[in-house]
Amino acid sequence: MAADTHETRTANRGDLVFQRLIVVGAVVMVVLLAAIALELTRESRLSLSASGVRFLGSTAWDPVKELFGGLPFIYGTLVSSFLALLVAVPVSLGVAIFLVELAPSWLRGPVGFMVELLAALPSVVYGLWGIFVLVPWLRGGVEPALARSLGFLPFFSGPSQGFGMLAGGLVLSIMILPTIASVSREVLRAVPNWLREGALALGTTRWEMIRGTVLPFARSGIIGAVILGLGRALGETMAVTMVIGNRPKIAASLFAPGYTMASVIANEYTEATGDLHLSALAEIGLLLFAVTLALNALARLLVWRVSRVAVQGSRR
């Protein structure tokens, strides 16, 4: 700070205050994140020392007998999220491609807005919709039909229960759709126009141009969008808790109830009495934290890569 005269000092005071403020803000963010990680680790120390790595592989979850295994929840989170991706990725990519490449310009705004509106709905609303609409529909129509036609596959066997992994996955898919669609839309928008013109001038159809040049160019950005959606699916709690059935068992059938990491924390934390129980829940929280953090970092990296390539390309 070279404040050699009174004049410069007063002129810089506003800047200085502002700078200090934003530095404090930035530091608080980092400290907060570190504090959460630290606290979760501290809370789960008991469980970590009691079961160690076995926690990840054990399927027994019985608070009464003080048996705590995390596998059913890990399984439930991964399967429901994967199911959500399976449904949401093709649909949201379609939406993004439509909005950027095909839709007439008067339609782009309204449709884009509605997609983003989906993201703004509180998840408890999705949960209610799941209970009142999706679950009865699955139990009464979809699941019996799937069992009849594809029942030889273990995923579609067993009684139709409505509340279960399939319902959880489908609700999740609708919830992550706007995330994937709007990030992919931004990624596709960043694809430079000379790429499209180059392909069209070679006599490609619009679809050939999109598939052969635009999508390959945007690939890593789209992967980033998908991972952001996955991150949301992994952590989503309320809507999934309302429809997934909440039973800590691993079943091959998607019709059977399951449980996710986020759901078990939400359901059991307030009623947990034993220290070990609390600690086990904290360990699940820690696990979830680590997974989502890693996935988000990966997504950032991929999105950053595609935008950097786009900038390089347009400089040529």
């Binding site: 069209l200 070679l202 006599g203 159809t205 052969g212 160019f217």
Partner: protein
């Protein structure tokens, strides 16, 4: 305007010794393309105001004019690329071998196959290798390519790039220099064996040496392919083009054999432009 268009057969030059080049261009080759009262707009702004212009077969035709005169738009109308831009519309006709490419039921995709295009900024596909770039027109449309390497070599030789890239064909097209990238784009267009090649200021992003190579290439290609080149560089038009059209404010001011347009322009505005008084 129409008067200027029709003056491409040098009639006002009786008694003058006609050079061999002029006699050759007087025995005019067939018309490959003719635009008839071609109008093009972006939204409400009309950028081409009724252009009627012949493009002769296996000749190089240069379109010159100051920035914003509509010369890029004009060539983009010849392969129906103009309409891919936002709010772009076209009226009038473009006859390719006498048949209007804007008539109902014509697939622009098929037209773009016959009329290739090279852009101002070299735009090889960055996700593809050099060889893949050459074959892109075929592979993107899902065509079977029986003799891949032969085709790659032929197109790259035609584009005078083969010797420089034959050992690095699997490398990304984006790894080449600007001039090489532009020749790669020319090879990519030539691989489809187009009847016409449109070049929209193909050298404006290149250094003088790369420019000279492209001009040389245009000269060679002009014997086999009909070429239309947009340029703001009049020396370039003089060097490469058999015929030159001067566009100004969306209108055709003058068209004729290049040396006549440059030495004895019929219109005052042409003379003002080529002598550097405006534009």
């Amino acid at each position: 305007m129409m008067k200027a268009t029709e003056s491409f057969v040098p009639t006002a030059e009786k008694g003058r010794v006609v050079t061999i080049a002029e006699r050759e261009s007087a025995i005019l080759p067939a018309e490959k393309i003719r635009s008839v009262d071609l109008r093009a707009s972006f939204g409400a702004t009309e950028v081409l105001k009724g252009i009627t212009l012949p493009i002769l077969e296996r000749q190089v035709t240069a379109i010159i004019g100051p920035s914003g005169c509509g010369k890029s738009t004009f060539v983009r109308c010849l392969n129906r690329m103009h309409e891919t831009a936002h709010r772009a519309t076209v009226a009038g006709r473009v006859l390719l071998d006498g048949r209007d490419i804007y008539r109902a039921g014509i697939d622009p995709v098929a037209i773009r196959r016959r009329v290739g295009m090279v852009f101002q900024k070299p735009n090889p596909f960055p996700t593809m290798s050099i060889a893949e770039n050459v074959l892109a027109g075929l592979s993107l449309t899902g065509e079977r390519i029986p003799h891949r390497m032969e085709l790659v070599e032929k197109a790259l030789r035609q584009a005078a790039l083969w010797d420089e890239v034959k050992d690095i064909l699997p490398r990304s097209g984006a790894s080449l220099s600007g001039g090489q990238q532009q020749r790669l784009c020319i090879a990519r267009a030539l691989a489809l064996d187009p009847e016409v090649l449109l070049m929209d200021e193909p050298c404006s992003a290149l250094d003088p040496i790369a420019t000279a190579r492209i001009e040389e290439l245009i000269h060679e290609l002009g014997d086999h392919v009909t070429i239309v080149i947009v340029t703001h560089n009049m020396q370039q038009a003089g060097r490469v083009a058999d015929h030159t059209a001067f566009l100004y404010m969306g209108e055709l001011v003058e068209y004729g054999p290049t040396d006549r347009v440059f030495t004895r322009p019929a219109e005052q505005r042409t003379e003002d432009y080529i002598t550097g008084r405006f534009g």
